[in-house]
């Protein structure tokens, strides 16, 4: 029975082909440092899940952002866990992604034929930093308000167009409801869309080119 369902599905979805190309392939022997890429992916997925859950109660307006987070922490069961995972997951993700980058650098894995994989990886690192920067404002507490004030101010020091960039980031001269709303949109829609597309490309390249091997003394 199971067998016939499987073969019916396999004929239409090509499950065996996927299994053969993705899972049942030969790869070089590698060490534990090579697990950090998948660890970053895992943490990224967890961020996605906890982020979606936080959006059940979070409201991106200056009137209610802080209170809604207080409600998540005190009023909802396990709200502290979901927010705690999201908060710490962000830091851990930056850390694993950065060490992953250092590993790739140390083994020269960005060289032929994986230049483009490196390229997508750097995009992902900056995507994660962008998520960190925009997400930091959302709790609308003193720390986030003043850090973002200074952070956007830094962008404002760019010669000639600085003031323009500052106003675009903040949606006006001041850090306001408009800023919070656009940071929220960037944080839950725009950055994730870019990141998901880039992750897919990154993974496709890893499967297509195979994971790099640990270089020997002559290479």
């Amino acid at each position: 029975m199971t067998q016939s369902i499987f073969s019916w599905l396999d004929e239409r979805l090509g499950l065996t082909a996927i299994y053969n190309t993705v899972l049942d392939r030969k790869v070089p022997k590698v060490n534990w440092w090579f697990t950090l890429g998948s660890a970053s992916l895992f943490l990224g997925l967890l961020q996605g899940i906890t982020g979606m859950l936080l959006s059940v109660y979070y409201v991106p307006t200056p009137d209610h952002a802080y209170d809604s987070i207080t409600f998540i922490m005190n009023g909802v069961q396990f709200g502290w866990l979901i927010r705690g995972l999201h908060h710490w997951g962000a830091s851990l993700l930056i850390l694993t992604a950065f060490i992953h980058l250092l590993r790739v650098f140390f083994y020269g894995a960005y060289k032929y034929p994986r230049e483009f994989t490196w390229f997508t990886g750097v995009i992902l690192l900056f995507g994660a930093l962008g998520m960190g920067f925009t997400g930091y404002l959302l709790p609308w507490n003193q720390r986030s308000y003043w850090a973002t004030t200074v952070g956007t101010e830094i962008a404002g020091t760019v010669p000639v167009v600085g003031d323009f960039i500052l106003r675009v980031l903040r949606g006006g001269t001041d850090l306001s409801a408009v800023t919070l709303s656009r940071f929220f949109s960037l944080h839950i829609w725009i950055f994730p869309a870019v990141i998901i597309a880039t992750v897919i490309t990154h993974l496709y390249l890893v499967i297509r080119l195979g994971i790099s091997n640990i270089p020997d003394k002559d290479s």
């Binding site: 859950l53 059940v56 209610h64 409600f71 009023g75 909802v76 069961q77 396990f78 866990l81």
Partner: protein, 164 residues
């Protein structure tokens, strides 16, 4: 390292399968079970209001005419504090019997109003009507208008308000 996991009954591949399933379901459980609570806990919290509300001296209410009274209660819903308005009709019978109706239609919770010409309560939503004593005279409502428990203290009228 493959040989380490080899045993007469279980090969490496099945071992990894079992570990994967085990750790995977552990993580799913650690996140998944709290998530259920996370979603439903606001629904389980009963916000109970239980209060005697003063409607003022009895003389304020004319005899035998249902007279509206409004009161406001502040409620905390999540991160929002809001004032909700409630309405009641006070009917003082010549026999000194006092009845206080809620103005919420028992059909779909629209607010009823008193029509003095036809001497009936009218619900604007589905054209229902109730008589002076709250009984259904026409339309879909399943039961008469709700009555509040009342008490009199030094000629002051109170109703017992409960919700939740």
């Amino acid at each position: 390292m493959g040989s380490k996991y080899r045993s007469p009954t279980i090969d490496r591949r099945s071992f990894v399968k079992i570990v994967t399933a085990l750790l995977g379901s552990m993580m799913a459980a650690v996140v998944g079970l709290p998530v259920i609570q996370y979603f439903i806990s606001p629904a389980l919290k009963k916000d109970v209001s239980d209060d005697w509300i003063s409607l003022g001296p009895l003389e304020n209410y004319p005899l035998d005419i249902p007279t509206p009274f409004h009161f406001t209660l502040t409620r905390v819903n999540g991160w929002e504090r809001s004032s909700q308005s409630y309405g009641a009709f006070v009917l003082r019978r010549p026999s000194e019997e006092i009845v206080v109706f809620s103005d919420v239609c028992t059909h779909l919770s629209c607010r009823v109003s008193w029509d003095p010409e036809n001497e009936e309560f009218l619900c604007p939503c589905h054209a229902a009507s109730f008589d002076k004593f709250g009984g259904v005279t026409s339309g879909p409502p399943p039961k008469p208008l709700n009555r509040y428990e009342i008490k009199l203290e030094e000629n002051q009228l109170f109703i017992h308000f409960r919700e939740g």
